[in-house]
Amino acid sequence: MTALATRAEQTPRLRARTARRRRFPVGRSFVAFVLLAISAFTIFPLIWLVLTSIRPANTVFGGSFWPTSVTFDAYVRAWNSTDFGLHFANSLWITLATVLGVVIFASLSGYAFAKLRFPFKNVIYVLLLATLMMPSTSLIIPLYLQLKSFGLLNTQVGLLVLYVSSSAPFSMFLMRAFFETLPDELIQAARIDGSGEFQIFWRIVLPLARPGLATVIIFQFLQTWNEFIYANTVLQNTDELPLQPVLFGLVGQYQTDWPTLCAGLTMSIVPVILVYVWMQRQFVAGMTLGAVKN
């Protein structure tokens, strides 16, 4: 109880802190101008992308920056000629399944590492932690061979297994940080009340970790949706491919049909933009927690 009380007292102070303006020795309007210029430069390629996708095909090269007439033909072409719906669905289910798998594994183990006592806990934790940042680039060869020996090569399940196992440790680390902020008394009290360990986790701890879960979900969604090297290597059948390798293949295919190419790219980023806009606040909160806390 005392732990909860002090936490509650801290909040207003924290808020006052963040509300405070920082000092920087340059005029505000000038700073604003510079920032807007940087933003414009940053966003320009994306505006160009969307504008190119809605141009009539014959005005792409040599026309003015703003299209004089607008057409959505390119979207129809991109959708029909590349089986876009199928690959979009592939991406979606693989991504959602990965998110689910990572959430389950990461929250269970994160809780165990944060709050449960069992022998060799630290050994296992350090083992997982030591390779947290293992780059997919350097694991691609042995993983390819590993999937081959399990007969999982060229299957979406194989890809899914790689996604879950390569990203679960990082999310575990995030979830552990979240669970550690919960007071031990909470769990002790539940045990004395006779709750089983899984019940405590499911009914008491997990609902309290919702902000942490939201972070893991968003992070994992973006990462899996955008993943390229595993998807491009593990899967060979065109029908099973998620979007990223397909988009990569479009470059050669539509070398001069830029509106179709741009329409495909634009459609592929709609989900990540939606997730970002929808859960931006939690995303930023979680990101900063993850980055600053360790």
Binding site: R17, R20, R21, R22, F24, V26, V34, L35, L36, I38, S39, T42, I43, P45, L49, F61, F105, A106, L108, S109, A112, L116, R117, F118, L127, L128, T131, M133, P135, S136, T137, S138, I140, I141, L145, Q146, V161, S165, P169, R191, G194, G196, E197, F198, F201, N226, F228, I229, P245, L247, F248, W258, L261, C262, I269, Y276, M287, T288, A291, V292
Partner: protein, 318 residues
């Protein structure tokens, strides 16, 4: 089997006897293992063992058929006489260092500027700057490939239209320009994320430090230099380390934009090991051993990046 039933039903200690306490702790232990085992098994199968296997393969010659032939350190010595390996080495190192420098300094400056403007503007700028960071490297790579296109691309058209036609370049097919051109794309994608990390760090600086500095008569520059910058040391160490790692392991962006070309001019370890193992041209024999040697080098470089972070944050907290 009593353990599983304890797990499910939970323990109801009716008395405070030692036996029930023991039972209590046992259920906790069993739950601990139960919760940790799935992730550990996955980890061993698809991270731990592959690491070991990559190290083993790096000492062998293998095309993927039959069994690998152990050849000692030949793969590593071979790198020294392989001109493509040399290019990949320099490209990887320079790319990692340059991205780390630019992707740390520029986001830091923007974050400091942002904490000095109206809240509304700050939110808008943060949102816009972050968007390239959530787009896949495939999409950003293809998009910038179109922008860089020498004949039809927006960049050259733009230069021409503002009277700088002489500056038009073959951005991705000129060996001298290809790496800087890719670097710009990397920077474009990374600024937002790193800026956010710094921004959060700045929000966390204790305001009393600024008050104390003001009382001591510190100018705003001095406050920035002697309060803001030192307070961000740990955050900076994290950003540097993350950028170094991303630089060492770079693959997607370069593979999509140039696949290591023209004529290996933009080859990095990532693209080179991929083409050795999975073939850049159809029909080439996979060189899994030699490719794995580069995998091991990338792992070691990422280890260095972690060490850099540990050293920098330790120095910061002293």
């Amino acid at each position: 089997m009593s353990t599983s039933s304890t797990l499910r039903a939970g323990v109801r200690p009716r008395s405070r006897s030692g036996a029930s306490l023991w039972k209590l702790q046992r259920s906790e232990r069993m739950a601990g293992y139960g919760f940790v085992v799935p992730i550990t098994v996955l980890f061993v199968l698809f991270v731990g063992w592959p690491i070991v296997f990559a190290v083993y393969l790096s000492f062998t010659r293998w095309s993927g058929f039959g069994s690998p032939t152990v050849i000692g350190v030949d793969n590593y010595t071979r790198m020294f006489s392989d001109p493509v390996a040399a290019t990949a080495f320099w490209n990887t190192i320079v790319f990692a260092l340059m991205t780390t420098l630019l992707q740390t300094v520029i986001p830091l400056i923007i974050a400091v500027l942002l904490s000095n403007v109206w809240r509304g503007l700050s939110v808008v700028v943060r949102t816009l700057l972050f968007i390239p960071g959530i787009i896949s490297f495939v999409v950003s790579g293809v998009l910038w490939k179109l922008i860089y296109d020498p004949n039809l691309g927006t960049l050259n058209n733009l230069l021409k239209s503002i009277g700088l036609g002489a500056w038009q370049q073959h951005w991705l097919s000129d060996p001298a320009l290809v790496m800087p051109s890719i670097l710009v794309v990397s920077l474009w994608g990374a600024v937002g994320m790193n800026m956010l990390i710094f921004f959060a760090g700045i929000q966390g600086v204790d305001p009393t430090y600024y008050e104390a500095a003001e009382v001591d008569g510190a100018s705003r520059w001095q406050q920035f230099w002697y309060v803001t910058v030192p307070s961000l040391r740990v955050v900076t160490a994290i950003v540097i380390s993350l950028n170094l790692m991303n630089g060492f392991k770079v693959f997607d962006l370069i593979y999509v934009m140039t696949a290591g070309g023209p004529n290996h001019a933009s080859e990095v370890f990532g693209t080179y090991l991929y083409s050795l193992a999975f073939g850049s041209t159809a029909g080439s024999i996979p060189q899994l051993g030699y490719g794995s040697a580069f995998s091991v080098i990338v792992m070691l470089l990422c280890g260095v990046a972690v060490l850099v972070q540990i050293v920098l944050s330790r120095r910061a907290s002293r």
